[in-house]
């Protein structure tokens, strides 16, 4: 099972096991990661699963769809490494991924 780390703004690190095929938003929410709400349940409608992908991972993930890119325009504190983690699914390809949760 792939392992994904969520880092909070205050530096707190949560190292979590993801189930194959699960969205990383779902991993965060079921583990109570602060700042990840997933209010719309992965519908690309709310932007409450916004994360910054750690530097060395940015181009290792499948790129964001047009819809995700559109939603990312209106999140708080967007960056070049912004993603909505309801759009990233767990697989061996993301094992070791580090995601920062914006304040």
């Amino acid at each position: 099972m792939p392992t994904v780390t969520f880092v909070s703004a205050d530096g707190d690190r949560r190292i979590l096991e993801a189930r194959e095929g699960e969205t990383l938003m779902s991993v965060a929410v079921r583990n109570g990661v602060p700042g990840i709400e997933g209010e719309c349940g992965g519908e690309l409608s709310c932007g409450t699963c916004h994360v910054h992908v750690a530097e060395d991972w940015s181009d290792r993930l499948k790129p964001a769809s047009d819809d995700e890119t559109d939603m990312l325009e209106v999140v708080d504190s967007p960056s070049a490494r912004s993603r909505l983690c309801c759009q990233i699914r767990a697989s061996s390809a993301v094992d070791g991924l580090v995601l920062e949760v914006p304040a």
């Binding site: 349940g41 409608s45 709310c46 559109d70 939603m71």
Partner: protein
């Protein structure tokens, strides 16, 4: 479950569950009880009319939190217990099994139940509603055996069920009493586009038509008689004609109820130490565009939950949120920001025939809502535009070459 909680939340739907989770996550110092009439652990409702029916979404994806979460949580959870009466003076509630629980504060988040169709034959086997997980299980199983499905009600639920049933291979007829689909929640352009999409998928639409009788053969449904006299053959009938708030115990206890229990901007009812949240609550706040409207949505449940937590913990009130909604039918994704009520002008943005467009609803020069059809961008930008005065900018609003984000910044620069 213990018999006393500092905060007792009634209802394990999204509003009640988010209150309990919010209190726990916020470090609430007192005891938290969460009691629900349904036997299942708290679960997500939106997939019940979409992926759960088609089989695209499995059971384990429905739970709001896994079972292990609840056993580790400070929230004291009790399932399968319906609260039937409230005694606000004594700070006690009673369940259907006559169990008494006392509370410091009560949060009523008991949601709504499907409105029943008051016609002969409504009690026949094969006449189904869709609200709960159990309803969805029954419907999914029935859809597996049904060849012909009659859906009564052309709102979100009816149309999502029609789309799911069509995907599963059934021949579907949708019967809607109003002159167009989605009459309560969307304007003509969106309704027309959605209708065309259903017709293209093979659904028969009967709008401006009521149902006078559900016909049976023994105890099972065989069809529906319309107000026109026409008979629609059906193996199952799905009734999606709205919901009724579960607030009778509060009304009996003296709470002001008007199509839901009335709450103030802090989600307090007018009973001492009783708050309410979600589908069952209606805002009584003249300063809000939502005043007097009972909003049925996930966003509303979440917003109320945050408000309840803030009220109970003495935290600053969260900022008012713009209501928003979504519906997925076939490959169509409709997202709405704001409330499509009391508008006197609409601006169309884009070509419906292209499959991607938006409708901006105005009251005078102020945007009251935006319907975005297959356009995440217009939804995302449109949400920020709700409540904004766009005088002099309507041409930009209509121009798909101009992102709505630019309209927003122009509106702010103009000091409008």
């Amino acid at each position: 479950m213990r018999n006393h909680h500092d905060v007792l939340v009634v209802g394990t739907g999204p509003a009640g569950t988010q209150v309990a989770l919010g209190l726990a996550a916020g470090g609430f110092a007192g005891s938290i009880g969460l009691v629900g009439a349904e036997p299942e652990l708290p679960y997500e409702r939106p997939p019940l009319s979409k992926g759960y029916l088609t089989g695209d979404c499995g059971e384990d994806a429905l739970l709001t939190r896994p079972a292990t979460f609840w056993s580790d949580s400070p929230v004291d959870l009790r399932l399968g217990a319906a609260v039937t009466s409230v005694n606000p003076a004594a700070h006690r509630v009673r369940t259907a099994e006559n169990k008494v629980m006392s509370y410091g504060s009560l949060v009523w988040a008991a949601g709504c139940r499907p409105r029943r169709l008051e016609v002969a034959g409504a009690e026949l086997d094969g006449v189904l509603a869709l609200r709960s997980w159990q309803d969805a299980k029954n419907l999914r199983e029935s859809l597996g055996r049904a060849d012909r499905v009659a859906v009564i009600g052309g709102g979100y639920i009816g149309l999502e069920v029609a789309a799911a049933a069509t995907k599963l291979g059934a021949r579907v007829t949708v019967v809607e009493a109003q002159e167009r689909l989605l009459a309560r929640v969307a304007g003509h352009t969106v309704a027309e586009y959605v209708a065309q999409r259903h017709v293209a998928a093979g659904v028969r639409l009967k709008v401006g038509t009521g149902v006078t009788e559900i016909l049976g053969d023994g105890s099972s449904v065989v069809g529906v008689r319309l107000s026109s006299g026409e008979i629609v053959d059906a193996d199952i009938v799905v009734v999606g004609v709205g919901v009724v708030p579960n607030v009778e115990p509060l009304a009996a206890a003296g709470a002001t109820c008007r199509n839901g229990v009335v709450v103030d901007e802090g989600c307090r009812t007018d009973l001492p130490d009783v708050l309410a949240a979600g589908d069952c609550a209606v805002l009584g706040d003249p300063g809000s565009s939502a005043n007097g409207l009972r909003i049925e949505s996930i966003q509303n449940a979440s917003a109320h939950a945050k408000m309840v937590v803030a009220t109970l913990m003495g935290h600053p009130r969260p900022a008012r949120e713009t209501p928003w909604f979504w519906s997925n039918q076939y490959d169509l994704k409709l997202k709405t920001a704001g409330l499509t009520v009391q508008y006197d002008n609409v601006v169309l943005r884009g070509e419906p025939d292209s499959g991607q467009f938006a409708v901006v609803y105005l009251r005078g020069d102020v945007v009251v809502a935006v319907d975005a059809m297959n356009s995440a961008r217009d939804f995302a930008h449109g949400k920020a535009l709700v409540g904004v005065n766009v005088r002099g900018l309507q041409d930009m609003v209509a121009d798909t070459a101009v992102p709505l984000k630019l309209v927003l910044s122009s509106a702010h620069e103009g000091g409008a």
